[in-house]
Amino acid sequence: MSARDLNLRVWRGDGSGGDFVNYTVPVEEGEVVLDAIHRLQATQASDLAVRWNCKAGKCGSCSAEINGKPGLMCMTRLSSFEPGETITVTPMRTFPVVRDLVTDVTFNFEKARQVPAFAPPSDNKGGKFRMAQVDVERSQEFRKCIECFLCQNTCHVIRDHEENKPAFAGPRFFIRHAELDMHPLDTVDRQPMVQEDHGLGFCNITKCCTDVCPEHIKITDNAIIPMKERVVDRKYDPLVFLGSKIGLFKSTTRQQVGPAGGLGPSPIKHPAPPTPVAVPEPVKRAAAAKRTAAKQAAPAKKTTAAKKATPVRKAAAKKTAAKAASATRRRSTR
């Protein structure tokens, strides 16, 4: 086994700024970028922030950009670089940076929440859903997703245009929509939603999501393009439209959802306004009690309960905000 010195250039910093720092780290044959980062953390930069978990390409935690290419640090072999080459490691660029190599990927979880869950039919006789293997296979490919969000990070629609984030869910959620839309047992009509609310039309099928997916999911060919074609059926194809009007094609019997779908309840639940930064224990308990009470009460009563609770919450919020502010002041004067 031969050991050698690796030149690493790592982006260090947080949301307020940062820069590249050069390091030289001893590495061994067979190692991956994450090994080098760990050794760096263990020996020279103990405050280096890096997220990882499985070191086997299965948890999706260690997403970063290595020499400008989005990838998993634990799956990028050092032997894939020229000996003597300096390896640049940066955090994913599309998401806000927490610190160093760690980004805040909340955007993705917010989008995930908006996708309605699998909704099987209610008349499930015998208590078992039966599906043929060929029908299962198609969506199985999409279930390999490890939620590394590399595809989301690479997609130029939001990588280069932050302003598109509200209107665009991203490739990871296009495969989720596709998985459920292609599911023979699902009862929700997802096509208007994926087009109107989740911005399928923004995608120009340039395939970078497919290129970076560590699970080799054919995101574009098997999910995005088929979904685009399904949307064309519904929206842009006059023949299919006319055909469904005269009964040549079955129009969907699935339940439409979402603002675009019009009918039915909107699956898009926007999270409640954030709770204040530091929550003292007693208030937390009161809030929990209030939530339970509200849950048990009928919907009409819920509003009254909430209204009643408002002054308390406001006061608590004020108190907490003041506390947080003084805490920050204390920290910054230290």
């Binding site: 940076v97 599906m131 039309g201 120009n204 074609e229 842009y236």
Partner: protein, 279 residues
Amino acid sequence: MATQTVATQTDRPTARAAIKARHLRTDRWWVDPLITFIVFSAFVIYGTWAAFDHATVYGNGAPHQWFYSKPYLSPFYSPCFADGCPSDVNWGAVDIWHWLSPALYILIIPLGFRATCYYYRRAYYRAYWFSPPACAVAEPHTKYTGETRFPLLAQNLHRYFWYGSLIVGGVLAYDSVTAFIYTDHGYHFFIGIGSFVLLINTILIWGYLLGCHSCRHITAGRINNFSKHPLRYRWWTLVSKLNHWHRHWAWASLIWIALADLYIRLVSNGTITDVHHIF
């Protein structure tokens, strides 16, 4: 009093890592779009010239059109149904605008087909519009709406161009059959290099046509119950196999159609001699 900090939205970072470089890639990411740019541009230039250049030539036998050398008809001009088509291959449907090249009546279908093809879109969005030039390389535009608005919304008409191209593809197949037949006081079996050039052209065009994503959708992509439609599922499986190589079929058929046209022109004006045998 004990307080506990909880992660909240106000806590959350809002700024991306401040990295100014447009990209940090060290590989030659620009090679791919550059090749696309050169080859596609060359094709467009050659194709435009070829489509307009339909003058009569006098090389290689009796006066005839550039794009025809019995029994070979350039695929750019097929089906030839306008005034100015050689009589042997004239479908004779349109007899107006004598000055207009016969190619222009028909080229709109294959061109529209290729222009709206999912693979070509990927290629030219990257190579011409830099949106993005390569993965993780920032695009130069300040605004981006993708295919949500006109004119790019029209990409959704791809399947209609596909339907049209099925007909054109059928005619090209017919042409490659007639390229094996010499009509001169009866029908004779004919075999020449040009016959094979056109045959390969047909194979490539059909490989490209049948691997189309719209075709994949129509065969069975649009249904959710493969198990209930075994025959359609079988087709879908076959189309999917072709579709996997769609990019390669797209390139091969593009380059070959231009070469086929060039070959027929060169034979037509006597620059090269077609090796053939008439039975």
